[in-house]
Symmetry: C2
Subunit: 194 residues, 2 copies
């Protein structure tokens, strides 16, 4: 059977996403990543360098595309609510994403692929501004950050949630709440706000 090095690399990156998301950089095991990918771990070193470089490759591969599929539709606070809805969709279909985002800030000294991500974020900031035109760029950036922090927090601070909630929430209740809070953040600075 022919070699398929691209598939091998892709399988390793996918296994890396799973393992690093689950255990973080320090907790993940190169052996396990190889096994998860169905490939010998030596391949990782040949293709990506050492553990740290591979971690960076995995993060870059995932995080640069985090916001790309999200578009702002309509205008006003409802547009922000729509953004949050899409963001939560992405967190549900790919739960590794938000975990990787947290691991990155906790375990790395420097952000990964800063410049390309800045570009992607910049376009989302514009989206926020076109939804709420009376926000200046700084305010729009701050709002975008709070929105993502809210989504990531609700997804990843699970033990804090169990300490606070007297009753476990269903996924749908969670979504509704987060979207409602996103609307609240947007409303304060919207033109229709009294």
């Amino acid at each position: 059977m022919a070699w398929d090095t691209d598939t091998t690399k892709r399988k390793l990156l996918e296994a890396g996403v799973r393992q690093f998301a689950a255990a973080g950089f320090a907790g993940a095991r190169m052996e396990t990543i190889g096994a998860d990918a169905g490939v010998n771990k030596e391949r990782i070193y040949r293709y990506f360098g050492d553990k740290r470089a591979f971690f960076g490759a995995v993060l870059e591969h995932e995080l640069t595309a985090l916001l790309d599929q999200i578009v702002f539709k309509g205008s006003g606070p409802e547009s922000i609510a729509g953004f949050m809805t899409q963001l939560l969709d992405r967190c549900e279909e790919r739960p590794e994403l938000s975990r990787l985002l947290v691991w990155e800030s906790l375990e790395l000294d420097e952000p990964v692929a800063l410049e390309s991500r800045k570009l992607g974020c910049e376009s989302k900031v514009c989206g926020v501004q076109s939804a709420l035109p009376n926000l200046d760029q700084t305010k729009a950036e701050q709002l975008l950050f709070s929105l993502i922090a809210l989504a990531v927090g609700w997804c990843e601070l699970r033990h804090l949630a169990s300490s606070i909630m007297s009753t476990p929430m269903s996924l749908d209740e969670q979504r509704a709440t987060i979207i409602e809070h996103a609307r609240a953040l947007a409303s304060t600075n919207s033109p229709s706000h009294c």
Copy 2:
């Protein structure tokens, strides 16, 4: 010189806070914790059990007191803003706290000291309710969680912040923004909301 086992234990717990906050459970080294405390690591095993048990002891020691010093004053959205101000104060004077909170959710299967923390959180939920009396308990819990998620997110998602912000923010600007957003979350459900 006389033995001072209580001081030894306290030094170990303090070193544990520093090291676990910095590196997480998987990343922290028992040797390093001992050295940080100025004590042989064997003391950890004698006093606290194995690494996991020590991690639990450290988390319990820190996290149970997280919200205890915070009190709700006044009423309405301003009371919520005051809560956030105190929360940010605590995050600044003890930056390890919010990191430990995140590590806990990422690295532990079960929350630490769940029952005692539930008690502390319950009283904060009451605080939220007395500030915003038209919230039922569930809504108050959700608001409290979003507030903490916001604070923790702004403190710990630092690489996300550098991707979004075109210009680095000063600590004071950050505080003002977060408190403003807290007010926004509170205002939507306040009686004075139009």
